[in-house]
């Protein structure tokens, strides 16, 4: 009797969370899935005259030539952003973690500045900085670094460079902060013992730092992979997916299908395809890299 009451009590405590999940996650997901099986568009949306069309939208999306382009773009965008972002974040965290570094707080405050600005406003500023040849990047920074100027309107490579550099600037403070807090949680005694054993810097890094940060790296990789895959604003604001659809990703393309063409059915199908691919990739990554063990 008591056990049943406990279960009921547990269920009541669970209810608010269940309601939140139901309305904020499950309902939109189920509704999108439903829309993806209909021919819903602007003309029939309001009149409720849309109808069930089976997997037509999926077949249509998968048969279009752009699907392979979108997939390749997703890989370039996700891995092209994620690898330098994690590497830079990790490197900066290692620098900040130096015990004898002076003005650590000052440097940390400077480095997390990109976080202080709203992302969308930052993107608008970056849009101006990339204007060829008058923007700050093309006029001062790139020539100063003896690097070629970038014109996203005239080159696909330039468009990707513009997107990835901007995304790197916007995102590295997050990676740096997470890795930095992870590094600080490693007991100093481990390094002291390693010093006594005569371990070099590389050995300490590979044998102590990396294994200790396994959970952190796993968490950052999985969450950032999904976030970057679906990151909409940098592409939409900076290149609009262009030239052509050379930098377009699923989410940008789906947005345009929904809000430029009002093809809600196809937009929903593209979103579902993107979600399924993300889940499959995440599962594959977790299985073959063992990062799940790191998390659990």
């Amino acid at each position: 009797m008591s056990s049943a009451r406990d279960k009921l009590e547990g269920f009541i405590y669970f209810l608010p969370l269940f309601a939140a999940v139901l309305f904020l996650f499950l309902y939109p997901l189920l509704y999108s899935t439903y829309v993806s099986f209909t021919n819903m568009n602007l003309l029939n949306f309001f009149r409720h005259t849309y109808r069930f069309v089976g997997a037509f939208n999926y077949v249509l999306a998968l048969r279009q030539h752009y699907i392979s382009t979108l997939l390749i773009n997703e890989v370039i965008w996700t891995l092209g952003s994620l690898i330098p972002m994690m590497a830079l974040g990790f490197a900066l965290a290692l620098i900040l973690n130096q015990r004898d570094l002076r003005g650590k707080s000052f440097f940390y405050a400077i480095l997390i500045l990109p976080w202080a600005f709203p992302g969308f406003i930052s993107l608008l500023v970056w849009q101006g900085m990339w204007v060829y040849p008058y923007g700050f990047m093309n006029r001062y920074v790139l020539p100063f670094l003896h690097m070629p100027t970038i014109n996203a309107l005239q080159s696909v490579g330039d468009a990707w460079a513009e997107l990835i550099i901007t995304n790197l600037w916007l995102s590295f403070p997050y990676y740096m902060t997470v890795f930095y807090s992870g590094l600080q949680s490693i007991p100093a005694e481990l390094y002291e013992i390693a010093d006594v054993d005569g371990a070099g810097a590389l050995t300490k890094f590979l044998r102590i730092t990396v294994p200790s940060l396994r959970k952190t790296i796993a968490f950052v990789f999985i969450t950032s992979f999904v976030f970057t895959w679906n990151n909409f604003y940098p592409i939409y604001v900076l290149t609009g997916g262009g030239p052509g659809i050379s930098t377009e990703t699923f989410i940008v393309y789906a947005y345009q299908q929904a809000f430029s063409y009002s093809n809600y059915g196809i937009a929903a199908a593209l979103s579902i395809i993107s979600t399924v691919i993300t889940i499959v990739l995440a599962v594959v990554v977790m299985k073959f890299t063992g990062v799940l063990e790191g998390i659990t």
Binding site: L42, Q127, S262, N263
Partner: protein
């Protein structure tokens, strides 16, 4: 026993909390909905509240606010709630309409509103206003607001792009594209861009003028069906024309953004570009920056075809949403519709349209306001600045003689991205002009087919793509 009582009281407490939360949520929602009702009734007089989505710019709002005050004074039983800064387009209103919470009155462009009308979101004004009422407006503007014989909005202006030029570099505007190129080459020698036109960034609104100048049209009719006609020699020649000006002659700056706030406008206002193509909506910032050096003229004749580059003659205006879209209860709909009709008639009357011209340089769609504006421009004035501004506006008005009707059929909304995708690839050097023309037409057709606007049978290309050698003209 004690533990059991405690667990019961915990369950009871949790239940109470949940009940309170649910009651508060439901109550709050009901309270919210009740405040969202657009029509409130008093026991003595029926007071109507109109929700209005206002998409005017800040200079246009000076005229609008004056008209609004006059309206509320004249009709004290109508209360107007204005949502300033509303967007132009379909997307702001479709979700609201679905939730039965759209504004009762919207100000939108004729093409976006056309799609909303086709979707059943806007009222057919032809059912409430006689044909004679519409005849007081510019015929092209009314055509812009007519779909299948039904008028779905009252125009408050007509708009199109013109050629703005800087008299510091160009003393008299070019009449032909050959002249334009010669002038641009001269200007370029002084380190100033001859032209700033971001052909790769645009979605085909401005390019449509050049496409028409090379003899093209966006749609054609085949077997009674409206089909795209982008895959034509006119498109190939128009694309190549701007490619040559950009990459071969290097007289055109391929800007990444348009308008006074974009790169094109910034270069123009800073005396770094001599010619841009923009609409009268950006007149004031340009005039403020360049003063009497600002000139405006119609787009030139394309030398190779002898045809004018003809921009879309579009229009913005006022529409009323249906009761299903705005959620006004059926019992209050008649009074609301009556008030809404009074409002849109008032906002498109002489006084308001002339006010928009006076404060913002908008071109009136109402014939009487247009004539008054013309008279005002011809009147002598000792104010040099005003005389200069009048000269610019005269140049803008001249363009209205050489325009094309803005297609407001729902199919048009599938043109923009199809054009943009392939034009931007062309200007990035990924494909040639023939591939761009074919690609944009195919994308256009696919979009129309997937939206059900076009039968899925293969369509014969509207024109066999044999690009002729252009005659004597250089481009």
């Amino acid at each position: 026993m004690k533990s059991s009582r405690r667990s019961i009281s915990t369950v009871a407490l949790a239940t109470i909390i949940i009940v309170v939360v649910v009651v508060a949520a439901v109550g709050g929602y009901v309270a919210y909905v009740s405040t969202r009702h657009h029509v409130t009734t008093t026991t003595t007089t029926q007071v109507v509240t109109l929700t209005v989505a206002d998409s005017y710019s800040s200079s246009e709002n000076i005229a609008f606010n004056a008209s609004l005050a006059a309206f509320e004074q004249k009709y004290p039983w109508i209360h107007v709630k204005v949502e300033y800064g509303a967007g132009i387009g379909t997307s702001p209103y479709t979700s609201e309409a679905k939730a039965h919470d759209a504004p009762i009155i919207i100000r939108d462009s004729s093409d976006s509103a056309g799609a909303l009308f086709a979707a059943g979101i806007l009222v057919n004004l032809s059912q409430y206003l006689p044909p004679s009422y519409f005849s007081r407006f510019n015929p092209t503007a009314i055509q812009d607001w007519t779909l299948n014989g039904s008028v779905y909005g009252l125009p408050d202006d007509i708009n199109y792009i013109v050629m703005f030029y800087n008299k510091k570099f160009i003393t008299a505007p070019p009449n032909t594209t050959d002249q334009m190129i010669q002038m641009a080459e001269q200007v370029n020698k002084s380190g100033v861009w001859g032209i700033a036109y971001g052909a790769s960034d645009e979605y085909g609104y401005r390019f449509a003028a050049w496409f028409a100048g090379f003899g093209g049209q966006i749609f054609t009719t085949q077997n009674g069906e409206i089909v795209p006609a982008l895959n034509s020699s006119a498109m190939v020649n128009a694309l190549n024309f701007w490619y040559n000006l950009t990459y071969d002659l290097k007289v055109n700056y391929l800007a990444s953004s348009t308008g006074a706030g974009g790169v094109e406008g910034q270069l123009f206002m800073e005396n770094k570009a001599a010619i841009i193509f923009d609409g009268p909506w950006d007149l004031m910032p340009y005039f403020k920056a360049l003063g009497c050096n600002l000139g405006a003229a119609p787009l030139p004749v394309v030398s190779s075809t002898g045809l004018y580059a003809t921009p879309f003659i579009g229009s913005t205006g006022w529409s009323i949403t249906t009761e299903q879209a705005n959620g006004v209860p059926a019992s209050q709909w008649n009074a609301t519709l009556h008030a809404a009709l009074l409002f849109i008639e008032f906002m498109t009357n002489y006084s308001n349209e002339y006010g928009l011209f006076k404060y913002a340089g908008d071109i009136p769609a109402l014939n009487s306001a247009y004539n008054a504006a013309m008279q005002n421009l011809s009147a002598p004035t000792s104010n040099t600045t005003l005389a200069c501004l009048h000269q610019v506006i005269k140049g803008i008005l001249e363009q209205s003689q050489h325009g094309q009707k803005f297609p407001n059929i729902p199919q048009m909304s599938y043109y923009w991205n199809s054009f943009h995708q392939y034009a931007s690839e062309f200007f990035a050097g990924k494909i040639n002009a023939e591939q761009a023309a074919q690609g944009m037409e195919q994308a256009f057709i696919s979009s129309l087919q997937s939206a059900g606007y076009l039968s899925p049978v293969p369509i014969t290309p509207s024109e066999v793509l044999i690009v002729p050698e252009l005659p004597a003209s250089r481009y």
